[in-house]
Symmetry: C2
Subunit: 371 residues, 2 copies
Amino acid sequence: MNSTGQLVFPIVSKSIVYSEYGDPSSVLKCHSYEINEPKDNEIIIKNLACPVNPSDINQIQGVYPSKPKLTTDLGTKEPSAVCGNEAVFEIIKLGKSVSGNDFKIGDWVLPAGVNFGTWRSFAVATPSDLLKISNDKISVNQAATIAVNPSSAYQMLTFYQKLQPGDWFIQNGGNSQVGKAAIQIGKKLGLNSISIVRDRPDLDSLKDELYKLGATKVITEEENASKQFGSTIKEWLDGKSITLALNCIGGSNCTNMVRKLGKDAILLTYGGMSMKPVSIPTSLFIFKDLTAKGFWITENIKKFPGSRPETIAKVLKLMESGDIIDSEYSSITFDPLTTTDEEFLEAFKNAYANSKSGKQLIRFESEYPSV
Amino acid sequence: MNSTGQLVFPIVSKSIVYSEYGDPSSVLKCHSYEINEPKDNEIIIKNLACPVNPSDINQIQGVYPSKPKLTTDLGTKEPSAVCGNEAVFEIIKLGKSVSGNDFKIGDWVLPAGVNFGTWRSFAVATPSDLLKISNDKISVNQAATIAVNPSSAYQMLTFYQKLQPGDWFIQNGGNSQVGKAAIQIGKKLGLNSISIVRDRPDLDSLKDELYKLGATKVITEEENASKQFGSTIKEWLDGKSITLALNCIGGSNCTNMVRKLGKDAILLTYGGMSMKPVSIPTSLFIFKDLTAKGFWITENIKKFPGSRPETIAKVLKLMESGDIIDSEYSSITFDPLTTTDEEFLEAFKNAYANSKSGKQLIRFESEYPSV
């Protein structure tokens, strides 16, 4: 792209790569490489925005079982991988044999599979790498983060337990990205929810926020741990039982949550923020026939073929209808064509450093027209 | 029955009952009551043998969720229930309308459902209460204890995970009644097993016993806990993975066992002898897609209709073919017609007192002919 907006190849793509596992603040490098005119079956895409997710960080640390292959394909000295698993890209150039029915310039696309490597400004893809999404009614932020958190919430609420309108689920980490999505999706499905959050000075404002999203009940960890409070919950349930629990914390928080479940319930564990194991009294397993399972959306791509595009289509619809609202995030925005390698690297390192304090998004905006 | 062997009604039945929950050594009473000639649809049965199972004890203590109703049906002063859930009975008299095709005098029968109340010398039943079993090739001991332990082992090995010959399962409590049954049934199904047992002075003789039953590998809790020993197990597996674990212990024993499992495995918890919860690292749930479930054969009667007679038929066949051998037990044998109420009660209290040191069986034998 030159300064008049005309696309001139080669384009320089900046990417964040690692060649060894470790702390992101030390192992990440910026690698620039040239992208040429697309081959017949290729599509050139430009990054609009990508999040820095906890799972991306774990992948760099080497503690995430889904690992991209380290290669020298992009011209790195050492075999390396591009970080990141989630982003929304815009198509800027199509190879001759790519069908205009499926893809056209200006379309928004997501990686169709895992380990695409999304922390880069431009990329070369083939049609099977990409999933096109409508961009009429959703924000760049929503599109960039549709595939992990809200999709996880959607699958957890619909794939495992046949919940009917009026049924209840419970979750800890109620104010996490997944938790907020579960509240909103649950409301749309007609479900009642109990969301457990940590006590905090601004508890009331957090509760307000979650109630506005559609939470039925929001309780603190202390209330969750209290035997007396159990009778309050029973009153809420009014004879119903809770048959689904979503756990991203573990430890005693999770144990206390599981005690709220009725017979034949399912506990889905998708995170372990307390770093403590999932600990369940034997009697709940035997006499309540509890089923405890893990949830990993990356694995579900293989386990439930077709689930990724289906889920994204469902969640997209909920976003378009305003049933899932745009969530707050911290972002760093810059023009990838004029930034230096150092600035590019710094942006991702900053997002990593801030990643415990909320959703981190890297946004790419240039003064140049998109195409 | 008189001393010449002729059945004379009324018969006096002795039963062990409780009218309040508590320690069996204090709440159990012997209640004698008369049984008259059977009504048209009734069957009079005589107890041959009944075990004193841990779950029977928990039921008396009031900590078992499956509770028989307390009634005065048998003429007790206080509403009471007859203890016991497992026994083999012999039919001694049929009502006029009971089909001789289904039941005949001399047949061995088991309770078809739960909470029949088996700690009594004689009982009145209707056809739907009873499940007839062949008595050609099995012992009274085997018949009296077919419905809980070996049936649990059979269902755990066949209902949850589709294991093929050559596949592996792992279990703790390898020398428990269920453990020994699982070893034998597993062998017959062509499965490989790893059985975890506590270290003990006579470890070698215990190992010998389990290997003779068909155990593939027997390891100690210490070996199960050792990281180094993991590589030995990997060698045994020779590229296969373990996809089923049976847990009756909980605590660290169970956690270490779960670490041996491959992807998509199932952990079935049927007991918690350590009194510690089932504790599972979050990563095993998420990245290995572990499913942890409870197993309770009492509940499976409802959950899998028809499962009880089917399972008993399968296990019976394995007993008849010698694939499940008669197990050791401590027994008290007496003639229910000549014993006193005090002796009758004492026998059950003794079996309770000894119940931690192995399988306890009460056998009823009289000098009188059966029918």
